[in-house]
Symmetry: C2
Amino acid sequence: MNKGFDVRPIGVVRSTIKRRGDAPKQGHEGAPDAWLEIEADVAEGIDGIAAGDEVIILTWLHLARRDELKVHPRGDRSNPLTGVFDTRSPDRPNPIGLHRVVVREVKGRRLLVGPLEAIDGTPIVDLKPALDRSDDS
Amino acid sequence: MNKGFDVRPIGVVRSTIKRRGDAPKQGHEGAPDAWLEIEADVAEGIDGIAAGDEVIILTWLHLARRDELKVHPRGDRSNPLTGVFDTRSPDRPNPIGLHRVVVREVKGRRLLVGPLEAIDGTPIVDLKPALDRSDDS
């Protein structure tokens, strides 16, 4: 494989979900709100984000396996083996999680957002505003 | 900043857009179709992707500046300086591009998709199926 790139955490998820087995597959499947703690050295980058905004969070799913190329979707062995790029499995060569959430509250460099299925301690690698078009993201 | 993670390209964009200045800001702003060439060692991961599918592409915007924390949105200096995490600027600490496209054709480990605003040579770091819900991504 080609030479890679260095992705640096810009913050961390603080959630009541502590274990991968306790995380819903998607945010809308009963996930709680969670705090995003943004690193001090990039905190200026959240200026403009306000309660009510829809935001896309990119995370690094640090517990994922990176050597999986086929999985049973949703971990259900009755689903046929499928290429990981045709699934939302966290197990994939670059385990980047994609989460669309609503900002509930902004406190300095902490953002309360939800619903979010990522577990406590998950590194955050980017935040972007969701665009109005449903096909933006 | 904390220790980073190694993101490895899983493929590359082949586009008629050759320079950053020629790229539309978003795919729906007149971007062309483009080919995604998936690396042989992870090509098994696209099994299941078919023409007509809506797919989210994550790219590494290799020409971006990583030291920007505030920008004028859309490069327009009449827009007030805004934190990069509240914009879709390619210039940001982790320059990961997010693109929702339709698959037009699959040829072995090459996918024709569009519309896509990424320039020729942009590394691809992940592919995911778009979910039905508009808030999936």
